[in-house]
Amino acid sequence: MKILIVDDFSTMRRIIKNLLRELGFNNTLEADDGSTALPMLKSGGFDFLITDWNMPNMEGIALLKAVRADPELKSLPVLMVTAEAKRDQIVEAAQAGVNGYIVKPFTAETLKEKIDKIFERLDTQG
């Protein structure tokens, strides 16, 4: 399972990377915003995307939309981990096809729960 972590704060990327390692996901790569993440995703091989929303250049919501618009990437599971807490934003992300939404600050348990839920649902669908 190869996972891309996208956040403009390297501290948050490290936290998520550490938590994922605890959960047994050791194959992670990092990007600091949507515009660096997209080419990495397009180069292939990723099974899961975890992204922040509020980032310079290309925000998480734009990255999500770009992923869903790309024929190669459109079914990639996307989990949003963000401090953005407006209902409009969560609805927007849902409509854009996000698979999970975690609001910061979050706990290790929440991350585990949402990842499990995403894969559970994908298994029943697939």
Binding site: R14, I15, E59, Y101
Partner: protein, 257 residues
């Protein structure tokens, strides 16, 4: 050039007729000619006055129209103070969270270290066959307890280290808030520069209006644009926001998630 010549001959003609009138002691006719001579200058004066009035009007309008500056001073500056206060309390909380975990973990590590040292000494006496049967029984009991408690205590240390890991999320959250304040300071600086330009002798209004326009364009997608964490006691809370993960889950499940 032609119109200047024309004007000159017109004025010259009027002047000659004025002299004629005055020599004929016709004061009324003279006055009428003086009025005609003055006419072009009056028109110029009125035009200049009209231009000044228009400029004054525009300056006042853009002064009043720069509502962004009013918004900045009335809402955003007090909010910025509140944001920075929130950053101070968040960093304080994160540091206490880290230090609390350290305060608990450190004695556990020290005690594990100390007991391991004591057992190692006894163990090496056992290997050198220096222990009596009773001493060996005691060592076996101590070893049992050490292994059992060691397992529990290292588990506890691991969870305290996770607590320290999660406490570091403040850097991201406060960083987003501080960056927002930096953007505000920058915007305020631009607005003030515009205001100074406006009030200085040579007016340079375009600067101010483009700043205002740019802001209007940005506000198109403002609902959706990333803004960072919601800060209590600011205008952030006016927006319809969720209150923690449970709210997010409830909202998503209402959308069929």
């Amino acid at each position: 050039m032609d119109s200047d010549d024309e004007r000159l001959s017109l004025q010259l003609d009027l002047a000659r007729r004025l002299v004629e009138r005055l020599e004929a002691s016709d004061l009324t006719g003279g006055d009428e000619l003086i009025r005609q001579l003055r006419l072009p200058y009056e028109r110029e004066l009125f035009e200049e006055l009209g231009k000044l009035t228009r400029e004054l009007h525009e300056a006042l309008n853009s002064f009043r129209g720069d509502s962004r500056l009013i918004e900045l001073t009335r809402d955003e500056i007090p909010d910025a103070k509140e944001r920075l206060n929130y950053v101070v309390s968040m960093t304080e909380q994160a540091t206490h969270r880290t230090l609390n975990a350290l305060d608990e973990a450190m004695p556990i590590a020290e005690s594990l270290h100390e007991r391991a040292g004591r057992l190692r000494a006894q163990w090496s006496r056992f290997r050198n066959r220096e222990l009596s049967v009773n001493e060996f029984r005691e060592l076996a009991r101590e070893l049992d307890e050490f292994l059992l408690r060691g397992e529990q205590e290292t588990e506890r240390v691991k969870s305290l280290l996770s607590e320290i890991l999660m406490a570091q999320d403040y850097q991201d959250l406060t960083g987003q808030i501080i960056r927002r304040v930096i953007r505000l300071v920058q915007e305020l600086e631009e607005s003030l520069v515009g205001l100074i330009r406006l009030s200085s002798a040579r007016m340079d209004r375009p600067q101010l209006t483009t700043a205002a326009n740019a802001d209007a364009d940005e506000s198109v997608a403002a609902d959706i644009r990333g803004q960072g964490p919601i800060v209590p006691n600011t205008h952030d809370t006016v927006a319809d926001v969720v209150n923690g993960q449970d709210d997010v889950d409830a909202l998503l499940s209402s959308l069929g998630f």
